[in-house]
Symmetry: C2
Subunit: 511 residues, 2 copies
């Protein structure tokens, strides 16, 4: 008790010290150190009476996954991985943090969202912001010039999360990339085909894949009179067109970024355009745009892309959209973004009218980045890359809502049979039998009580969806049988003990 009182005084004093340092605006470093001491003292205080006094939560913008959410997540992952494997991809993994300098200068205006680790001596580290930059670092470091790989892992952004809409600070990305020097637009078309397959298989409803090309954008900026050193920042403004009205975007370009109003107006005309091959043909003839060599290159590749997409049978859901810009710095060619749209009817009007009103958000995106690996290579050797990233959190949200709405029951375990006793004092017999089943590869459980009631054992099965119960009692043990009960039909049948494994397997082969 004397110890506890001393500790309480120490906590109070330390708290005072921290408050004083804060008031004095002492170096953050020093405050953190004293704050750490305070937390340590508070923890000791908490431990003494067996508990702590602080808010029990996950960090802002993050969440736990409970077993039901995990069951949904694993189903989604398995669909996606299956698709990546169907297209011949290998997989790799990289650390969750990188040297800070590996990430520096890759994300443009978004760099401020990178999580840094505290300098505790040694290297300066940051949490990965995406899987693309670590992939490029991996290729350069291992001098790999050809690979088709997928990578599913969490990435970190200090964004203001809107978690209800499936936006988090820690979230999964499912990336597929093709690196290598190949003939134009063949890997690019396969990436779009993969996005199409995944969104179709997940049955998320109608979707639309918007495509554009950084070269078309750059050519457009050029012919509209944007100075070359403003290309990237004006591109960032165009990228906001799915969240802001054109007038606001124009205002940002002119008032904030100093673009001539005439240039902005010219851009405004182009970025309203969307269509397919006929639009490409029109733009190739466009008096202004056709004067840009890069724009023409982009347009010709776009035409080739649509031809390949037609062969793959997916061109219907792909739309060439000049307002698509993508925020990241590293794209050099084709870029794309898939959005869910509300209904078939909506989608058809959308192709003529304005896109933004019906889209409920981007679920996949990607593009070509031919310069990124070269930024890491000591000799600047380039490895052309194209890839896609599926943004899985929003898809989880949709799936979760759907499961809840449907009242569908999701099992979170795969247990095939519960070994139960009809009488008391049969724990050892239950343990022996369940070990026999485990040995045969059967998924089986017992309840961890010495003498559980049969009713409780049956209820456990109903709650967790275990389809079978293997019941033993004095009589069954004497007869060398097990009473096998079907939980849903309540039918019971005696099975010879040596046939139990086979019988369980036969009855649960579908589940």
């Amino acid at each position: 008790m004397a110890d506890r009182a001393r500790l309480e005084i120490a906590v109070r004093e330390q708290g005072e010290r921290v408050r004083k340092l804060k008031a004095e605006k002492a170096p953050q470093d020093q405050i953190s150190e004293e704050l750490a001491k305070l937390l340590e003292l508070k923890a000791q205080l908490g431990t003494n009476d067996g508990r702590q006094q602080f808010v029990l939560k996950t960090p802002k913008g993050t969440r736990d996954y409970n077993p039901k959410q995990m069951a949904i997540r694993e189903k989604v992952f398995s669909t996606i991985i299956n698709c990546f494997k169907r297209h011949g991809a290998e997989t790799i993994d990289t650390p969750v943090f990188e040297l800070k300098e590996t990430l520096t200068g890759k994300y443009g205006e978004d760099s401020k969202l990178i999580y840094d680790l505290k300098d505790q001596g040694g290297e300066l580290l940051s949490l990965r912001y995406d899987l693309t930059v670590p992939f490029a670092r991996y290729l350069a470091m291992n001098k790999i010039t050809n690979i088709k790989r997928y990578h599913i892992a969490k990435v970190y952004r200090r964004d203001n999360p809107a978690m209800t809409r499936g936006r988090y600070r820690e979230f999964y990305q499912c990336d597929f990339d093709i690196a290598g020097q190949y003939d134009p637009m063949i890997p690019d078309a396969e990436c779009l085909k993969i996005v199409h397959e995944i969104l179709s298989e997940l049955q998320l409803g109608e979707f639309l894949i918007k495509v554009n090309d950084r070269r078309v954008l750059d050519g457009m900026f050029e012919v509209c009179g944007v100075p070359a050193d403003k290309f990237r920042t004006i591109c960032s403004s165009v990228d906001k067109m799915d969240k802001m009205a054109w007038e606001e975007v124009k205002n940002e370009m002119v008032a904030e970024k100093g673009l001539a109003p005439e240039a902005a107006d010219k851009i405004g005309e182009y970025v309203q355009l969307n269509g397919r091959t006929e639009l490409i043909d029109k733009l190739v003839q466009d008096a202004k745009l056709s004067q840009s060599k890069v724009a023409l290159e982009g347009l010709n590749d776009m035409k080739q892309l649509f031809a390949y997409l037609t062969l793959f049978g997916v061109e219907e859901r792909v739309l060439f959209d000049l307002s698509l810009a993508r925020g990241l710095d590293y794209y050099t060619g084709v870029i794309y973004e898939a959005v869910l749209v509300q209904s078939q009817a909506d989608m058809q009007t959308q192709q003529n009218e304005h896109c933004e009103s019906v889209s409920v958000g981007s679920v996949a995106a990607g593009g070509r980045y031919d310069g990124l690996v070269g930024m890491f290579d000591p000799k600047g050797r380039k490895v052309p890359c194209v890839g896609l990233s599926v943004g899985i959190e929003r898809i989880f949200s949709i799936m979760e809502q759907r499961v809840e709405a449907s009242d569908q029951k999701i099992r979170t375990t795969e247990t095939q049979v519960l070994v139960a006793a009809a009488q008391k004092k049969l724990l050892e017999e239950r343990m022996t039998l369940v070990a026999e089943l485990w040995k045969a590869g059967i998924k089986a459980e017992i309840m961890y009580k010495k003498n559980p009631k049969l009713l409780n054992q049956l209820q456990y099965c109903e709650e967790t969806g275990i389809p079978l119960v293997a019941i033993i009692g004095e009589q069954e043990l004497k007869d060398g049988v097990v009473k096998l009960r079907d939980v849903s039909t309540r039918e019971e049948v005696d099975v010879a003990r040596e046939n139990l494994t086979e019988e369980v397997r036969k009855r649960t082969c579908q589940s």
Copy 2:
């Protein structure tokens, strides 16, 4: 060029500034900030000529997994997950970081190894150090009193890594835990059974699972005359017995921790003991130890545990070892650690002689922690827990070495068939055919060249282990067939196009 020159000057000046601050021992905070500016400038400089000048590496103590390593890793994971599911576990996931205060006061002397995130405004965060504390936080936060769950994820420790022996700063843990108020030692026995199953199925060679109980240790300390406030720190010293000789451990207890030499000597006698039921019986009769109530509780439970382990058929590989202590603060009952031993012969001598000489390291560990959840619960409500953690990195190392030694070929993709052309100008036909196969769920690839040579296409299959090639040429297209080639036998057969899917599936159902 003028821009570049200006940038170079800026980099030089900023470098000078950082050096000066370091020399002046300015606050770390300020140095970091200026260093970040320097890196940013350097990155801009790098980007200008398309590259960066810095060391291309992963952070200290971490590594990438290449596709071959991933193939091994996924095989190991699938064995482990399969076992967890066989025992009826659900799975959950938690964020990679927690509020700093969630981790504070849980790890004793090891707390210094926790990675903190930089304070960028907002909450103070740390990377998770294990999966047990986040699990306890999850239970308390969601008021869960019963669950059997597994969790496979990376954890982070700022340790001095010995990567050649499979020790890293970022590494996977595969955890299985049973939470709930149950009858003694039933879940505990199942945890040991699971460790036994996993190590057997992974075929890692001989292993031994050492068990002890914190109550036996505490009782031993008590009767040896260790003051109660030194129990945890003396326990930490005992924990080092697998790495240090007894004399060194004793020295640490006496010289560093101020324990009376007689007390240390008494401990020294006990911790040399190991055995099974007969040892437990002997200790229950031990004149000194039997005077401790907690020790007797622990010994009686240990006896019950061995009875259950015998029913599960695993007692042969389990050894009650009084030198096993485990470093972590939160254990309250049975504790265990599995080590690989070099051979059957070694293992037998080991039971009588000294353990440390033959063990090649711990591959799994765990124990009972009945107080941890209560530390998070606002009302201190306890949820008894017992669990295990498989340390997978060391297992990977062993598996990798084995694969390399065996010259075994590991496939990193699952592609069943390559769609190839025998003549030029058949890209569109290849694309159409491969899309047909994808639609039917066949794993198929094409080479991303307009006119690849047939030889190159066949070589690609041999390199990557693709078993079949579907070859089309003018003649095949005219006849409505595809030439299906078996890569290993080089046999070719014409298959009607509408039967191709079925034929591919039939021939690759094993792979």
